[in-house]
């Protein structure tokens, strides 16, 4: 004895009814699709918003009649004197850029080799026991807020590590660089390890079969095969270091300097932006306000370009194993 719904279904088939969605079903499907597309468009709008905002406000900086500054001077002058009252103000971003690259350079010197070695060790050498110590360590390190690393830099690295070995000022580029390096380390390690692990075992086994030692397998087979992933990990760390704010705001001081000496204070682009925000006199349409946007635009161009290059390398040169 068939139930009622089964009979309905048979009738529908027999009479060749079309089994299709109801009108309400179609409408709700379209509504859902629209809202999901809206979500996607929102994330695009953020990027567009950032670009439009920085561009338009930077134009306001260059069009300011009181300043009479052109983009060329802005990019090549070696003095940055916003906030100082005496003398003619000079708006050359090079001191801030040099500060950023001094600190980023130190951070990269620390985080790239150590991060890569840790990644190689984790992926190729480590026993489960070492792994069970190292992996959580890196995860905890990755979760530590940047302001904590800034505190560590100013209260530990400067007085106990750097000042005993040389003439380091209270605020210096070296301690900020070391702290940013510690910050980038887990990022490099985890991304590079992922890249190394994605190399299929057949490649390793082939190399072992030819009589290679583990070191030779690693350096001559696995690392070259994972190179695109490793480089994009490096680039990501680089853009992270350039954009890092709280560590440099705490440990690097607020004097823009155009030197290569890591012992003295050095204000970075991010450090300048934070300092400008904190000053009580910040008002919309003031010179400090516009200069902040100009600096932020330069910062954004750096990080955006580096991220984009990293993406391109990964898409273009990624070896696909299946």
């Amino acid at each position: 004895m068939a139930t009622k719904s089964e009979r309905d279904f048979e009738n529908a088939l027999l009479r060749n009814y079309e089994l299709k969605s109801s009108l309400w079903g179609k409408i709700s499907e379209a509504m859902v699709m629209t809202s999901l597309v809206a979500c996607g468009v929102f994330s695009l709008a953020i990027t567009v918003g950032i670009i439009v905002l920085l561009a338009s406000q930077s134009i306001g900086f260059f069009n300011n009649a009181d300043l009479a500054i052109d983009p060329f001077t802005f990019l090549t002058d070696t003095r940055w004197t916003i906030g100082q009252t005496q003398g003619t103000p000079r708006y050359g971003i090079l001191p801030l850029v040099s500060g950023t690259f001094r600190i980023t350079g130190i951070a990269m010197v620390i985080s790239l080799p150590i991060g890569l070695i840790c990644a190689i060790y984790l992926s190729e050498y480590a026993t489960p026991r070492v792994r069970s110590i190292l992996k959580p360590t890196l995860e905890i390190l990755a979760g530590i807020p940047t302001v904590v690393l800034g505190f560590f830099a100013i209260k530990f690295i400067t007085p106990y590590l750097l000042q005993p070995i040389g003439d380091f000022k209270t605020f210096n580029a070296a301690s900020a660089g070391i702290a940013v390096g510690i910050l980038c380390l887990p990022l490099v390690t985890s991304l590079a390890e992922d890249a190394l692990r994605a190399v299929p075992d057949s490649l390793r086994e082939g190399a072992y079969g030819l009589g290679s030692t583990r070191l030779e397998v690693t350096l001559k087979v696995v690392v070259p095969a994972a190179l695109s992933g490793i480089i994009s990990a490096f680039l990501l760390a680089l853009s992270r270091a350039i954009g890092e704010t709280m560590v440099v705001a705490l440990a690097a001081g607020s004097t823009p300097t155009f030197t290569a000496d890591p012992r003295g204070p050095s204000q970075t682009m991010t450090g300048f932006i934070v300092e400008t925000f904190q000053s009580e006199s910040l008002e919309p349409d003031s010179i400090g306000y516009y200069s902040m946007y100009a600096v932020a635009a330069v910062l954004f161009v750096f990080t955006f370009t580096i991220t984009l290059i990293g993406q391109l390398i990964r898409m273009r040169y990624q070896e696909v194993y299946s």
């Binding site: 050498y125 890196l138 209260k155």
Partner: protein, 399 residues
């Protein structure tokens, strides 16, 4: 043992190189572990002694590290974290569903799809201070579309605020009465008006021409008498839903900005959660005649919910530790008089408090900063443990 290519000697050389490298690796990894140990130890030794219940439940006091505390900062951090989660979660999960579950067929949507996917990685690489600048322009000043908020003028567009005048009577009592026009700066008391005294009784305010005409013999009446032409001070009673445009330097603006910061993280985590749902579940739903949205709603989303939650908690724990955008939007607030009573209030948060204390010249605040770091790390530890707990149960469920 020797072969055609390597002599015994070079083979020994190669093998020793390998073991040297292993030792170097181990040393480097030891250095990393030691860095973390030193970091945590130095913070604990600096701040451990300063942790106490009094520290947790007190608030910041100027030049007085011994009695300062972080209660408002903890409340502010937790509130901000919820606020940004609530804002970013629906949009983030929506974007992830769009990217993972709906492969569009027409070319316009397909290029949009590709662009959004490319854009997510770029957004994740934008420095948080740039989000801070965006937040200041978009939320604090709202592109200067509305009249900006100044300390002395009430905002033009606001709800939930009840303006009143307050003044001192000749008897020394403070009485208040309603303010008919909040923009009036020249209001003077000229005629008697219904008022409320400091004990909450309402009465009719007695207005006299000059101080000499005051009823000096009647203390009760004197408490209800003011001199004509005096200017009362204006204040606002703000309800819990107090709201104004533009947002100004408030907790809502900061929370929305942090929502922008964690949006890419939530999207990436939600995409991974959706990818972890086996295709067989979707196929079964589609095979039974469900539409795409029905299969997503009834089958995929329930299966991916624990993954969403894990991602959301991890993203929110990132937001809790983020100082730069908050500093940009709200400024370096250390303490407020009223606390967090509505979304249009300012509030200190833990990372900003740590930043300000670490830069303070008073050495005592250095120890307080370390103690606040310990509290922040414990908070992060709790959030991450919850996330790991959910993930481990989730893996059992799907595995």
């Amino acid at each position: 043992m020797s072969n055609f290519y390597s002599t015994p000697r070079s083979e020994a050389n190669r093998k020793s190189k390998n073991s040297y490298f292993a030792v170097i690796c181990l040393l480097v990894c030891g250095l990393v572990v030691m860095t973390l140990v030193v970091l945590l130890a130095s913070i604990f030794f600096t701040g451990g002694n300063w942790l106490s219940w009094d520290f947790l439940f007190a608030n910041h006091l100027e030049d007085n590290p011994e009695e300062s505390g972080i209660w408002q900062a903890i409340v502010g951090s937790v509130a901000m974290c919820f606020l940004c989660g609530v804002c970013a979660l629906p949009i983030g999960i929506g974007t992830a569903i769009f990217l993972e579950e709906f492969q569009p067929r027409n070319s316009l949507l397909r290029s949009l799809h590709w662009l959004v996917q490319l854009n997510i990685t770029n957004l994740a690489g934008v420095p948080s201070i740039v989000y801070g600048i965006l937040g200041v322009t978009a939320f604090v000043y709202m592109f200067s579309y509305f009249p900006s908020i100044t300390p002395n003028d009430p905002p033009t567009y606001e709800i939930g605020a009840n303006y009143r005048y307050q003044m001192k009577t000749l008897g020394g009592d403070f009485v208040n009465f309603p303010c008919p026009d909040k923009t009036d700066k020249e209001f003077r008391i000229n005629e008697s008006i219904e008022a409320v005294d400091s004990r909450g009784n309402s009465f009719t305010l007695n207005v006299v021409e000059s101080r000499s005409a005051a009823p000096k013999n009647d203390p009760v009446l004197l408490d209800q008498t003011v001199v004509k032409g005096k200017r009362p001070s204006k204040y606002a009673v703000k309800s819990f839903f107090y709201f104004h445009l533009p947002f100004g330097k408030t907790v809502l603006a900061a929370g929305l900005t942090l929502g922008l910061v964690i949006l890419p993280i939530i999207i990436i985590a939600s995409q991974e959660a959706l990818r972890a749902v086996p295709a067989s579940l979707r196929e079964a739903a589609l095979g039974m005649g469900a539409t795409r949205w029905e299969s997503v709603r009834e089958v995929v989303l329930p299966a991916a919910t624990p993954g969403f939650m894990t991602g959301a908690i991890l993203a929110m724990s990132r937001a809790v530790g983020e100082a730069a955008p908050v500093l940009a939007v709200m400024g370096g607030v250390l303490v407020t008089t009223n606390g967090l009573t509505n979304l249009m209030a300012k509030t200190p948060v833990l990372p900003v408090t740590i930043y300000k204390w670490a830069g303070d010249e008073n050495v005592g605040f250095e120890h307080l900063a370390a103690a606040a770091i310990i509290v922040l790390l414990v908070l992060l530890l709790v959030m991450n443990s919850v996330a790991i707990l959910i993930r481990s149960r989730y893996e059992k469920m799907l595995g």
